[in-house]
Amino acid sequence: MSSSGAASPLSVSHLTVRYGDRVALQDVDLTVRPGEFVALAGPNGSGKTTLLRAVLGFLPPDAGTVELFGRPVGSLSVRERALRVAWVPQGESPRDDVRLREYVLYGRFPYHGPLDAESEEDRRVADRVLDEVGLADRAADGILTLSGGERQRAILGRALAQTTPLLLLDEPTSHLDIGHQLDLLGRVRSRVDGGGVTVVAALHDLNLAARFADRIVVLAHGRRVADGAPSTVLSEELLARVWGVVADLRRDPRTGAPYLLPHHLVSVTPSGPPALLGKGPVHVVGGGGSATAYLRALVDAGYRVTAGALHLLDSDLETAEGVGALTAVEVPFAPIGEEVRRRLRALLDGASAIVVAPFPVGPSNLPNLEEVRGSVGRVPIFLVRRPTGQEWDYTGGRARALEGELRTGGAVEVASPAELLRALAALSRPPPVP
C-alpha cells in the first residue's frame, strides 16, 4: 500500500481473535497515522484490551493481520518489537521497592546487551523522562513509597524510557482521581504534540477521550462500531446504543470538545420514556424550589423537560439548567415581561404535556398561569395539589381563579412526582383501538 518509510505506526486489518469459543475481536480494521492520539472506547469486555494485546503480539490472531510500521508483528523479535512499541498495561503494580530511577531505567532493556552498564544515553533519557512525568525530585525514592498517581506516572515513565515511536496505554487513568487523570493524559498529549509519538490508549472515560484524543475508535462486542474525531463520533445515540446509557451531549465551553452527561441506564425505564418523548418535552412551570422534585423525576424517567418562566437565582432554575432544560428566564424580582412571555409561549407550544408545580404566585409570576391557561385543551395539563393551610396566592385571588379555570378545563391533579409519572405513562400508551 505504501513504502515502509511512510508505513503507518499501526495497521490492523480484518483482525479476529477468539478465546476458545468466545469471539473477542471480530474483523477489526484500524489504521493509525503517525502523530495521532487514538482513544479506544467501548464498554467492559468490548475488546479494547484484547486489541492492545494483539497489537503487542501477545495474542496470535485467528484471522487478519497486525502490522507495526509495515512489519507484521509476528515477524518481529521481542527486542525489535520493544524498540517500536511500549506498553502501559492495566494495573501494573510493582512489588519490589525499586528506586524510581532504576525502575524507569528498566525501560532501557532493549538497548542493552547482558554485559552493558548504563550508558550516558540511558541516563539522559531517564532524566528527561523523570522530568516529563514530573517525578525528578523522587528519583531516589522507592517506587512503593509513591502515591497512586505518582506510581502511574512512574509506569508511564518506564514506558516512555523505551523511547518508542508508538505507545499503547491500557486504562492508564482508571485508578486516578480527576486531577491526576487530567495530569497524566496531559503529559501523554504533550508527548504526542512535542515528540512525534503516536498513542493508542484504551480509555473508559469518554469525556477524557474527547478532550485529549484526536480520534475515538469505539468497540462493541469485539467490533469497531464508530471511528472518527470526537465531535463526530460521540452522540447521545451512540451512548444509548453501545453503553446502554441515556446521556446529554454538551460542548465544553472552553475547548469546544463534546462532553457527555450520563443520566441513567436505558434499561432502567423499560416501558418509557414513552411515546411522548418523541413528540416533545414536558414543560414544568414552577418557582421557589417547588418544581425541583418534578424536574428530576421527569428527567430520571427519560423525559426531556423544559421549564419556566423562572427568575434568575431561583433554585428551580438551577435545577432546570442542571438537567439541561430549555428555560424562559426573567431578571430577579421583575414582573415577567413581554419578551419572556413570548419565549414561555414558544416552550408551551412545543411541549407535549404541562406540569404546574405548587409555586407561590405573586404579581410578578402570575403570567405563568395566564400562559398555561392558553394551552388548555391543546395538551394534557397536570396540576400539583397544593399543601393545605399554606398561603400561596399573593395576587388577591386571581391565581386561585386561574387554577380553577385550569381544573375545569380538564387539568389532572397529582400529589407527587411518582403520581405524575404514572399519569404520564398512562397517557403515552397507545390509544385503544376501537
Binding site: G107, P110, P114, Q162
Partner: protein, 369 residues
C-alpha cells in the same frame, strides 16, 4: 544541569547508598577473614601457629617456612600429619563450603526471580530427591568403596539433573504455566521420596549414609572435587548473573517484561536450567544443604535492595559466607566432629534471618498478614 535546579537525591537516600557500599566492603573483608580464620577450626585441634605456617608454606610453594612446624614444639612426625590435615582437608573443606554456598545462594536467588516467589529455593524442582536417589543407588548397592568418591557425586549429579529435566519436560508440554511447573516439581519430588523410602526399607544397609546425605555435608571435599565444583559453579553463576536485568523486568509480570524486550519464556527456561545445574553440582558433592539458597537472596535484598543485578551476585557472596559460617559453627559447638551441615545452616541462619525480618518490616513482596 541548566537553569532548572533539580533537587538531588534526598540526604537519607544518599546516606543509605553509602551505607550499602560500606556493608559490601565489610562483607567481603569479613568473608576473607572468616575463610582464613576457618582454617583454625576442624576435626583435629592444631596449634594456630602451625596452621599459619603450613598455609604460608603451601601458598609460597615451600619458600616460606620450609619446616612448617619451625619454632613450635610439635613433633616432626605429627607435623607432617598436621600439614596434610590443614592443606588436604581443612582448606578444601573451606573452599567447598564457599563454592557450594555461592552456588546454592545464586541458584535460590535466580529461582525466586523466575518464579516471582520469595519462598522458592534451589530444590524446588525435585532436584534434591533426584540427587538423593542417585546417591542412594551408590550407598545401597555398594560399589567398590574406593570408587565411591568418584561415583557418588556422578550418580547424584545425574539423578539431580535427570529429575530437573524431567520436571521441565513434563511441565513444558501442553500446559506450560509457572504453576504447572512448580506443582510438577512438587509432585515428582514426592514420588521420588516414596521410591527412596521403599528402597531403603528393603535395603537397611546404607540408609544411615543416605540420612546423612539428606542433611548435607562437606566430607567429600578434596582439591579435585573443589576444582570441578568451582569450575562448574563459576561458569553457571556467571551466566546467571547476565540475566539480572531480565529478571528485574520479569518481576513486573510476564507481559510487561515481554513488552519491554525480555523474551520472558526463553529467559525463564534458561535461568531454570542454569540454576538447576548449579544446584545439581552442589547436591552432587555435598548432599542436600537446606536454607542457604532460600535465605541468602533475602539477606541481600534486606541489605542492598531488590534489583536482581545485585541479588544474584550478592546471594552468591552471602551464601558462600553463610555456609562457611555454618561449618565453623559445627566445629565451635562440637569440637572434633563434622556433623551434617544442614543442622548448622539452620542454627546459624534462622535466628539471623528472623532478626532481619523483624528489624526491617518494609518492602513486603507478598502483602501483609
Amino acid at each position: 544541569m541548566g537553569a532548572t535546579a533539580r533537587a538531588g537525591p534526598t540526604p537519607s537516600a544518599e546516606r543509605r547508598g553509602r551505607r550499602r557500599w560500606l556493608l559490601l566492603v565489610a562483607l567481603v573483608v569479613g568473608g576473607i577473614a572468616l575463610a582464613a580464620g576457618s582454617t583454625l577450626l576442624g576435626t583435629v585441634a592444631i596449634p594456630p601457629q602451625v596452621v599459619v605456617q603450613v598455609l604460608l608454606h603451601e601458598v609460597s610453594g615451600g619458600q616460606l617456612y620450609p619446616d612448617p612446624c619451625a619454632g613450635t614444639n610439635v613433633a616432626p612426625r605429627l607435623c607432617g600429619a598436621y600439614e596434610v590435615i590443614v592443606w588436604q582437608l581443612y582448606v578444601p573443606e573451606i573452599l567447598l563450603a564457599l563454592i557450594v554456598g555461592a552456588g546454592l545462594g545464586i541458584s535460590g536467588g535466580a529461582l525466586q526471580g523466575v518464579f516471582r516467589n520469595p519462598l522458592a529455593d534451589p530444590f524446588l524442582l525435585g532436584i534434591s530427591s533426584g540427587g538423593t536417589i542417585g546417591a542412594a543407588v551408590i550407598y545401597v548397592y555398594r560399589f567398590e568403596v574406593a570408587q565411591a568418591d568418584l561415583f557418588l557425586p556422578l550418580f547424584a549429579f545425574v539423578g539431580a539433573v535427570a529429575t530437573g529435566l524431567l520436571v521441565l519436560g513434563v511441565a513444558r508440554g501442553r500446559f506450560s504455566s509457572v504453576e504447572t511447573l512448580l506443582l510438577t516439581g512438587v509432585a515428582l519430588a514426592n514420588l521420588l521420596s516414596a521410591v527412596l523410602s521403599l528402597v531403603l526399607l528393603y535395603n537397611p544397609v546404607g540408609s544411615e549414609q543416605v540420612t546423612f546425605w539428606l542433611l548435607g555435608g562437606l566430607g567429600l571435599a578434596t582439591w579435585e572435587v573443589d576444582g570441578i565444583a568451582a569450575g562448574g559453579v563459576l561458569v553457571l553463576a556467571t551466566l546467571l548473573v547476565l540475566y539480572g536485568r531480565a529478571l528485574n523486568l520479569i518481576q513486573l509480570g510476564h507481559d510487561v517484561a515481554q513488552s519491554a524486550g525480555v523474551d520472558a519464556r526463553r529467559v525463564r527456561l534458561r535461568v531454570i536450567l542454569l540454576a538447576s545445574l548449579t544446584t545439581a553440582i552442589a547436591v552432587a558433592f555435598t548432599g542436600i544443604i537446606g536454607f542457604v539458597g532460600l535465605v541468602s537472596p533475602h539477606i541481600v535484598r534486606r541489605l542492598w535492595g531488590t534489583s536482581y543485578r545485585v541479588v544474584l551476585p550478592g546471594a552468591a557472596v552471602v551464601g558462600a559466607i553463610f555456609l562457611l559460617a555454618a561449618r565453623d559453627a559445627n566445629y565451635l559447638l562440637f569440637p572434633g566432629s563434622l556433623l551434617p551441615i544442614g543442622i548448622f545452616t539452620a542454627f546459624a541462619g534462622v535466628p539471623f534471618f528472623l532478626y532481619l525480618l523483624y528489624r526491617q518490616r518494609t518492602g513486603s513482596t507478598m502483602g501483609s498478614v
